[in-house]
């Protein structure tokens, strides 16, 4: 029989005992829905987490530090390679070399320093860090009030919420609810801050520092190994107040005030590294304490890391962490999948039951069909088609049902999150592959369920089937 005829006859037969077949199909739908619900929860959670991590710039970033930085990171591999004294200085040429490695999208120096900011004539001491323009996509700026930096060299500044509270003198007591960012940002946006900083200035070796806290070491002992440190001021306009902390992973050195990177570089701000590299730092060329290298694709982190190690620097990435995270999700997936499949297994027994019942009921009809020329194969295919049709219908209804359940749970959770004054999340995701997979899976499970009934119907002896009324 042709597929079109099979489908038509199968659907007709399903309509004939519509209640029973609907119930069986509902059973499959529930099974598929539970599978979809489970797997979409898994997918959604994974997506949410990996988006977070991707936005945090951790998965696609290699942190590079000089081996000369004796603080190190306490990792084994640092014992290999050149000794600290012989290794390269992490300077501008090194940064440019990293930027030109394959698959690297950018390499930017970490500029961070503690200094004083004056706001309405009151001094505030804080940690300042420079951000490249690409940091705009960091999810810490999702809930930001105001705007991101207008350009890489604009005299603008973004404050972290807790620093904004400090400026306004509104730091809430521990445990009390935080004031909203919008409320904090209103009086601050567009206002000016004055940043005081120490500028490092290359100077003729014989010339003494101009003024301020001079840091010339070994004066005159090494030719050219001298520079001046000049106290400067820079006016900055507050353009944004961010809700979240973009540097949560930084621990105690995290900053609360952010400058555009280009501006920070042009200021030649004195950094702790300068003191450590004092014997070489006679030129205007900056030396960096660390450089962040962003890789185009997290999959290439390892290769880039290896290339940078070959250049003679220490590297750190959380690639290992992401690998084990993927492992965890694979296990979670399998677990959710098995759990979700249980209901489908029960539903498939329902299919077997329904079809065996149908054989008993339609015994005579099968006999007639055989008598007028249906082959065993025709009868078998007809029952397969009925099982398959129930599977596909159940699959489609199940996907919709699963999606709806997910939406409801997501909605409910977000109401709860809101009541806890947490931002809403979209942790429920039904990707296209899951839709296709679920329907195909339901179809296949139904066909397997149809194996026995179809074989039994095909074997039916027409003479027996037609003998009795």
């Amino acid at each position: 029989m042709k597929i079109s005829d099979l489908t038509e006859l199968a659907l007709r037969n399903l309509r004939e005992s519509v209640l029973r077949n609907s119930l069986t199909t509902v059973g499959i739908s529930v099974g598929v829905a539970s599978l979809v619900a489970m797997l979409s929860l898994g997918t959604g959670l994974q997506q949410l987490l990996s988006q977070r991590l991707a936005k945090s710039g951790l998965f696609d970033t290699v942190f590079v530090s000089s081996r000369r930085d004796l603080r190190g990171m306490g990792r084994e591999e640092e014992r290999k390679g050149p000794t600290p004294g012989e290794s390269r200085v992490l300077d501008e040429p090194a940064r440019q070399e990293m930027e030109h490695l394959p698959n690297v999208s950018e390499a930017y120096p970490d500029i961070r320093f503690a200094t004083e900011l004056r706001y309405e004539d009151k001094p505030h001491l804080t940690m300042i860090s420079a951000l490249p323009l690409s940091a705009k996509s960091n999810d810490a700026f999702d809930g930001m009030q105001g705007n991101f930096f207008s350009s890489d060299t604009a005299a603008e500044v973004i404050l972290q919420k807790s620093f904004a509270e400090e400026l306004l003198g509104k730091t809430p007591p521990l445990g009390a609810p935080d004031p909203g960012v919008a409320e904090l940002a209103k009086p601050l946006l567009g206002k000016e801050l004055t940043m005081r900083y120490a500028q490092r200035q290359a100077a003729p070796s014989t010339q003494p520092p101009l003024r301020g806290n001079a840091a010339t070491a070994g004066e005159g002992s090494v030719e050219g190994a001298a520079y001046s440190v000049v106290s400067r001021e820079q006016k900055l306009r507050i353009v944004g107040v961010s809700d979240l902390d973009p540097e949560t992973m930084r621990g105690p050195t995290r900053a609360k005030v952010f400058l555009p990177l280009g501006l920070a570089e042009s200021l030649h701000i004195m950094q702790p590294t300068d003191l450590r590299e004092i014997s070489r730092a006679a030129t205007d060329e900056p030396v960096y304490s660390s450089v962040s290298v962003r890789v185009k694709n997290p999959a290439q982190v390892q290769a880039v890391e290896d290339a940078i190690k070959k250049m003679g620097f220490n590297t750190f990435s959380i690639l290992d962490a992401s690998n084990s995270l993927r492992q965890v999700f694979r296990v979670l997936y399998a677990f959710l999948g098995i759990f979700g499949s249980l209901a489908l297994t029960v539903a498939s027994i329902g299919i077997v039951n329904t079809l065996v019942m149908a054989i008993l009921e339609r015994r005579r009809e099968i006999g007639i069909m055989k008598a007028i020329g249906a082959s065993d194969g025709d009868i078998q295919k007809l029952f397969f088609a009925e099982a398959g049709a129930m599977g596909i219908l159940g699959g489609i209804v199940g996907v919709v049902l699963g999606w709806a359940i997910g939406q409801i749970i997501n909605f409910g959770t977000n109401i709860w999150l809101k009541s806890q004054s947490l931002p809403p999340e979209h942790f429920w995701l039904v990707p296209l592959w899951l839709v296709v997979f679920s329907i195909v899976f339901a179809f296949l499970v139904s066909l397997v369920s149809g194996l026995y009934p179809a074989a039994r119907a095909a074997r039916l002896d027409p003479v027996q089937a037609l003998r009795y009324e």
Partner: protein, 238 residues
């Protein structure tokens, strides 16, 4: 058409020529229906052979038997055996579905067949909405649809009153004469057999008792016995 010979274990062999109208007579349990099922390819002999058109049905695969039933045989039953959930048109075109005939051609053929049995107006009704006679006519239309050479009827008038029965039998004779179909009819009504069949075969307890020509049917059949259809059975359960 080839030759078919039925030969029972006790040495009885029956040969039916193409275009013949044969009645199989006997009381219930005589084995007449079993013989019909063997000819129809619905059943297989435990030993022996049923040869139709040079094909030994006992040696055909299940698949080939289904093809044989589809293209060579048309069947009508005492209880009509229409599928209750289908309209007459759908019932009539069902064999065409198994034969994988195109949809458009199918409905045309079904309409023609129903027209032939006078049920064109009822083609979209379900069997339960029709009288017994109408149902049997629809069953005849279904038996005709694949243009089989062999029409097998199992007590076709058993569930009908005598008037409607006559109507059906007239139609069967018409197919026999006009379409040249070989008819084998099982019945226990001797009067009916004498009136329509050219030949009567009597069975009892699975054995052939008598095989005689009926020289006096109401209408002699035409001269379409050019080719012969023979039937042979050996050691059958009939």
């Amino acid at each position: 058409m080839g030759e078919t010979v039925i030969r029972a274990v006790d040495g009885v062999s029956v040969e039916i020529r193409a275009g013949e109208f044969v009645a199989l007579l006997g009381s219930s349990g005589s084995g007449k229906s079993s013989v019909l099922n063997l000819i129809a390819g619905l059943d297989r002999p435990t030993s022996g052979s049923v040869v139709v058109q040079d094909r030994d049905l006992a040696k055909l695969s299940r698949e080939e038997l289904a093809k044989y039933r589809l293209h060579v045989v048309g069947m009508v039953f005492q209880s009509f055996n229409l599928i209750a959930s289908m309209t007459l048109a759908e019932n009539v075109e069902l064999p065409l579905r198994f034969a994988e005939v195109d949809r458009s051609q199918r409905s045309n053929l079904a309409r023609q067949a129903l027209e032939r049995v006078g049920l064109r107006a009822r083609m979209n009704h379900r069997p339960s909405e029709l009288s017994g006679g109408e149902q049997q006519r629809a069953a005849l239309a279904r038996a005709l649809i694949n243009r089989p050479q062999l029409l097998l009827a199992d007590e076709p008038t058993g569930n009908l009153d005598s008037h409607t029965g006559t109507e059906i039998m007239d139609m069967v004779r018409e197919f026999n004469r006009e379409l040249g179909m070989t008819v084998v009819m099982v019945t226990h009504e001797r009067a009916l057999a004498e009136r329509y069949a050219q030949r009567m075969i009597f069975l009892a307890d699975g054995k052939l008792i008598d095989d005689r020509m009926n020289h006096n049917p109401t209408n002699d059949h035409g001269a379409n016995a050019a080719a012969a259809l023979d039937r042979r059975e050996q050691g059958g359960r009939s």
